[in-house]
Symmetry: C2
Subunit: 318 residues, 2 copies
């Protein structure tokens, strides 16, 4: 197995004065996202038991060894009996698998079992849940934790991943208020800040501030890597290039699904970006130094405000 | 004055067994780049005296207070008498000022004075030096230290800025070999790794791995900042967005000059990037998940190799 990023430091039932907010949690997809949620709840004493479902036996063994799950099943095993008495089922797999996973869990959910997810796009996930869950759709709470890492897999799980980070809930009109409240309590127990947003607004915002930057970083790195002088180029890449392209190291499968899951909003953002790039290109070609300096000053000022605001948020959370 | 980033910890003439590689250094433009070079040489005991020339009195006062310079002159003062006995004159101003700075120093240089620069583009700098320096052109050594920060000004100077970093020398056919050797010795005394490259190759490589990423980051931040819902967008920006856009916080004046100074190579890179973005956009629009996953896997693998190689380089330098 791989070394655990951070082994669960205090198993549940520890010394701290804590409240169990989830009795039994089933995590479908015990990677960085699902594994870190389970570890964080365990460290907070906020979960009684965790069951993990996954595609790879090696990753499930990591999840057990790192103290993430009590029991683990391969996706092809019969784990349906674990669903009836589960309080929360978290779907934390790449989004393209959601439709079949919702269909697999739907017939076995308990009357009080809440289903939630951690997908980066929300309208397509809501549509898949509505189609597969049928009358159980009101028990589904669409959610998006804004955290991640270029690492992946159970061994990368980190109990502090969500501390001070944002988790966005995008309820549908039918979503049960009590189900939303339970999912919000669960995420708050990890140290995250929970807020709500309309699913359409969510998808448009994240197309702009997350999905588009990932596409740009992937495009740049793949284009340079395809050139005959790729080694000479990368040999001169400085810290600015490394920061700019860090997000290009993230999971190909996950980002394939994000790009297709939020396709319309992402295509609109690529279009807006391409137009903005064409404008700045015209200024460069025309030698218009005043226009360039004005544009660079606007982006510097906006970037400095962003840095200041995010540092204030971090401080406020401490 | 602003607080010094790191005050010069050991002034020259200290306890260490060091060799003075530069007697008198004149720094024209005492910002992050020129100030950090002076501080690094002082810390290494490798310079006897430093004279600073700058546009702003406040910044020159910082340079004195932070132990960077012995004497300071405003650009409009008469500082020409400092040039005749200078060993090295470093031009570390935005590139658009180079032509007039070369013209200002040319008549006052000593026979043994070497002129060098720290500009991010090299062919345009060489052309400006050739035009302004006349018979002194052989004493000019074009150089590009690959280091920087989103901070700027003398107070941001840092004696360790160049340690383990790359400095590229791009000599012209006429450049004096002994002048190159002196500039290389100076940069090595800061802890930098010095290498040589053809100026045209330099400009094409840095258009791809530095200038283009800056333009992309500036374009994205300026476009989002111009929207009516800019606050809502930036409020959801996570650590990936912050890393991707960190370089958009750098100096507008410097980047205006880089974009125009390396215009042809930069326009070629913007063109290549735009074509690559159009290809990935077609895959997204067509729902071609296999093509997307293959492209994302290529960029992830290239980015992981880059990370591994740069960590090896850092380790080799320690």
């Amino acid at each position: 197995m791989r070394a655990c990023w951070r082994r669960c430091p205090a198993r549940w039932g520890g010394e701290r004065d804590t409240v169990t907010v989830v009795g039994k949690l089933v995590v479908v997809g015990v990677g960085l996202i699902g594994g870190s949620l389970a570890l964080a709840l365990r460290e907070a004493g906020a979960v009684a038991s965790v069951v993990g479902i996954g595609r790879s036996r090696a990753n499930l063994d990591d999840a057990k060894a790192c103290g993430i799950v009590d029991r683990a099943y391969r996706i092809d095993d019969d784990w349906r009996a674990e669903l009836g008495d589960a309080d929360i089922v978290l779907i934390a797999a790449p989004v393209a698998q959601f439709a079949s996973l919702f269909a697999a869990v739907a017939p076995h959910l308990g009357a009080a079992t809440v289903v939630t997810d951690a997908g980066s796009s929300k309208q397509d996930v809501i549509a898949a849940a509505r189609a597969a869950l049928g009358e159980r759709f009101a028990q589904f709470v669409p959610a998006h934790p804004i955290a991640g890492s270029e690492r992946s897999g159970a061994a990368a799980a980190d109990a502090s991943l969500y501390r001070g980070r944002s988790v966005i809930i995008t309820p549908a009109a039918e979503t049960s208020a009590s189900a939303v409240a339970r999912v919000e309590s669960m995420w708050r127990a990890t140290g995250a800040n929970v807020s709500r947003l309309d699913a359409g607004a969510h998808d448009r915002i994240f197309a702009a501030v997350s999905h588009l930057p990932h596409i740009l970083a992937h495009t740049l790195v793949a284009d340079l890597a395809s050139r005959p002088n790729a080694d000479a180029l990368f040999a001169q890449a400085g810290p600015g290039f490394r920061d700019f392209t860090r997000i290009a190291a993230s999971s190909p499968e996950m980002w394939r699904d994000v790009a297709l899951g939020n396709r319309d909003a992402l295509l609109a953002e690529i279009g807006a970006f391409s137009e903005a790039l064409a404008r700045i290109t015209r200024s460069i070609a025309a030698g218009d130094g005043d226009a360039l300096e004005a544009l660079f000053a606007r982006s510097r000022d906006a970037r400095n405000r962003l840095q200041r605001d995010s540092m204030l948020r971090v401080r406020d959370n401490e």
